[in-house]
């Protein structure tokens, strides 16, 4: 019998199990966020569900002690892999003072944590792309050996910042890895009404970099292509564009009802192709995971999520006047 797929990629059983754990953790935190939203406890959720494989597969291919990331709002899998904790994510969900992303200033999904090299993000889509290019430029100037990893949706790949940023990265051969998580919808507008080129990956050609389309439902496929992209980046061979084909299993956000523009069959079909289940099956087929071990893992994650939820729910909000802080560096933060 030949090597297993993950072994061919140089991944150990422990590593793929850790991948799965991170995917499942993201999924379960996200599910909890929806419950809290529907219970009226948090005002807003924007989901990672269906995109965990792409997010976690990509992150594991990076050097998570060195590389920088500029994630977009669905990237719970990325930020967990980069070191943000469930507790911190719930603090953000509840908009509490201790939230490391923004101290409760921004909506959930607006990630940022300097100690884990997660750039602070905003709501206007794709603005993070030139930032990731700027970080890569700085790394090149300082002769550092890190890569800069940025993500966005396929609809967002129509913004000028996508094209301006990738072209800049291409011209200056910068160590940037851009991954478009193509879930085939931008809110309600389907892919064919968003992107004129045959694929998003095709857009790479204009910017002098390789473009790859991968099955974003398979963390190992994503891992492979990001790993190679990182090697090129570090070797001074420049940027890469990756298009990961994914599914958005939920509505766009907690304020959207996707049944208004997707039919039932489509939603059912998508759920049958859930990346978390598929990867669980891969691990079981390869005797890395058993049903019992999975149940144990779920229990362990549930416990962590329960504790994190309780902690965040009971944590204090920022003081009203804290709204005045941190406009400028001086004035003692006022």
């Amino acid at each position: 019998m030949g090597k297993k797929r993950h072994e061919e990629l140089g991944l150990t059983d422990e590593q793929v199990l850790d991948m799965y754990r991170t995917m499942l953790l993201a999924r379960k935190i996200d599910e909890r966020m929806w419950l809290l939203n529907r219970a009226g406890k948090i005002p807003f959720v924007i989901s990672c569900q269906g995109q965990e494989a792409a997010q976690v597969g990509a992150s594991f291919a990076l050097d998570r002690d060195k590389d920088y990331t500029a994630p977009y709002y669905r990237d719970m899998g990325v930020v967990l892999a980069f070191g943000m904790t469930p507790k911190e994510l719930f603090l953000s969900g509840f908009a509490k003072a201790e939230d490391p992303n923004s101290g409760g200033r921004q909506m959930p999904g607006h990630f940022g944590q300097k100690k884990n090299r997660i750039l602070t993000g905003s709501s206007p889509v794709t603005t993070q792309l030139p930032h990731a290019v700027g970080v890569a430029l700085a790394g090149k100037m300082e002769k550092k050996d890190f890569a800069s990893f940025v993500t966005l949706g396929e609809g967002s790949s129509n913004q000028g910042d996508f094209h301006e940023g990738l072209n800049f990265a291409g011209v200056h051969k910068l160590p940037v890895i851009t991954m478009v998580e193509n879930n085939k919808y931008a809110i309600s507008v389907p892919l064919e009404r968003q992107v004129a080129s045959e694929t998003v990956a095709d857009r790479a050609k204009s910017y002098g970099m390789p473009g790859y389309q991968v099955n974003g439902n398979d963390p190992l496929e994503v891992y492979k292509v990001v790993k190679e992209a990182r090697e090129r980046a570090i070797n001074g061979e420049g940027p890469t564009l990756i298009e990961a084909i994914t599914n958005r299993l939920t509505a766009h956000s907690s304020d959207d009802d996707h049944t208004a523009y997707r039919d039932k069959e489509e939603i059912e079909e998508m759920k049958k192709n859930d990346c978390v289940h598929i990867f669980s099956q891969y691990l079981k087929d390869n005797d890395i995971l058993t049903d019992e071990k999975e149940q144990e893992l779920i229990k362990e994650l549930d416990k962590e999520i329960n504790e994190a939820t309780d902690y965040a729910e009971n944590a204090p909000y920022a003081e009203p006047e804290d709204a005045l802080k941190y406009v400028y560096a001086d004035k003692g933060g006022e």
């Binding site: 490391p100 940022g112 905003s122 030139p130 930032h131 072209n167 200056h172 560096a329």
Partner: protein, 327 residues
């Protein structure tokens, strides 16, 4: 003390800061070999190389956005917009990103970028090479906007902008580049951002202005002195956030205030200065606050007749000052 032009002072500030700190670098259109379309970065490419004086693709949002990313990383980018008029494609990066990085991250991240742009009219630049764009940005807490009025200030303020921990828009008057010359010490000095500067002491009327109009007001004040009118002139230097204390003090000093900008009048920096004075100086004023500004048409036309009509000049300032003194 060496006499330098306004643009030489700008170049010297950048050179000194790049020599002092490896993290400082320049990016923009034609800033490299050519040294910029106005020659503001002349000589920097030869001295520091293409890695630190970067000719970027022609794409302003990328110039600002890549600068923002590099600044978040810890560099000190100086991004050049070829003309202030062409900053518009970068507005999202400046307002949604640079100005909000510190606030939105609860002080975790910061964005110490300087964005330089030549602004201003009277150079036959027509609509899109003459504009004052500061008012577009002047209600964005998190940003600072600096507009120097002479070579000495240009050097000290630009050095301060580069060292500032927050994003600074630095607007240089393109007509001042070669028109204004003055003593600029070779020493390493910085001037405080956020502080206005009294450029002339006087007792009869107060003129508050910034940028090239400071020079117009000083010229006018010289002439009016001969007529026995003594003008007090406050240079805002930083137009956002404003130095309220200095504005109030200058207004109270004479009780007659003229506000001058070459920007369109309505919604200009001077609208805010007028509001500050009216909130704080009701019983100190001896006349209504006066504003001299461009007309409320989109921008400055090309033909000399119309350009002259639009643009503030020393004669217009002198006339407005005399009228106020006589009120």
């Amino acid at each position: 003390m060496p006499v330098k032009s306004y643009i030489q002072a700008v170049t010297q500030a950048m050179r000194e800061e790049m020599e002092r700190d490896d993290k400082v670098f320049v990016l923009g259109e034609d800033v490299g070999k050519k040294g910029g379309v106005f020659k503001a970065t002349e000589g920097l490419y030869d001295q520091f190389g293409e890695e630190r004086v970067i000719d970027t693709p022609l794409a302003e949002s990328a110039i600002a956005g890549v600068g923002v990313g590099a600044a978040m990383y810890g560099m000190r980018p100086i991004a050049e917009m070829q003309f202030a008029d062409f900053i518009m494609p970068a507005v999202n990066q400046i307002i949604s990103e640079a100005s909000r990085v510190r606030y939105r991250s609860n002080n975790d991240w910061s964005c110490p970028i300087t964005i330089r742009a030549p602004y201003g009219g009277g150079v036959h630049g027509a609509l899109y090479h003459s504009q004052s764009v500061e008012a577009v940005f002047a209600n964005q807490p998190g940003l600072k906007i600096v507009m120097p009025s002479n070579p000495y200030d240009a050097k000290g303020l630009l050095k301060a902008a580069i060292r500032d921990e927050d994003p600074v828009l630095f607007f240089e008057h393109k007509r001042a580049y070669r028109l204004l010359k003055g003593e600029v010490p070779d020493d390493d000095y910085v001037l405080p951002i956020g502080k206005a500067d009294v450029k002339r002491e006087g007792d009869d009327i107060t003129v508050i202005t910034y940028g090239l109009c400071v020079n117009f007001a000083l010229q006018a004040a010289e002439k009016l002195e001969e007529e026995g009118i003594s003008a007090h002139i406050l240079d805002l230097r930083t137009v956002y956030p404003l130095d309220q204390e200095a504005i109030i003090e200058a207004a109270k000093k004479t009780g007659k205030v003229l506000l001058v900008t070459e920007d369109n009048k309505e919604g200009s920096i001077m609208s805010e200065v007028a509001a500050i004075i009216s909130e704080n100086c009701l019983f100190d004023l001896d006349s209504p606050i006066q504003r001299l500004a461009g007309p409320d048409v989109p921008a400055m036309p090309y033909a000399p007749t119309m350009e002259k009509f639009f643009m503030v000049n020393p004669d217009k300032v002198e006339e407005a000052m005399r009228d106020l003194a006589e009120f």
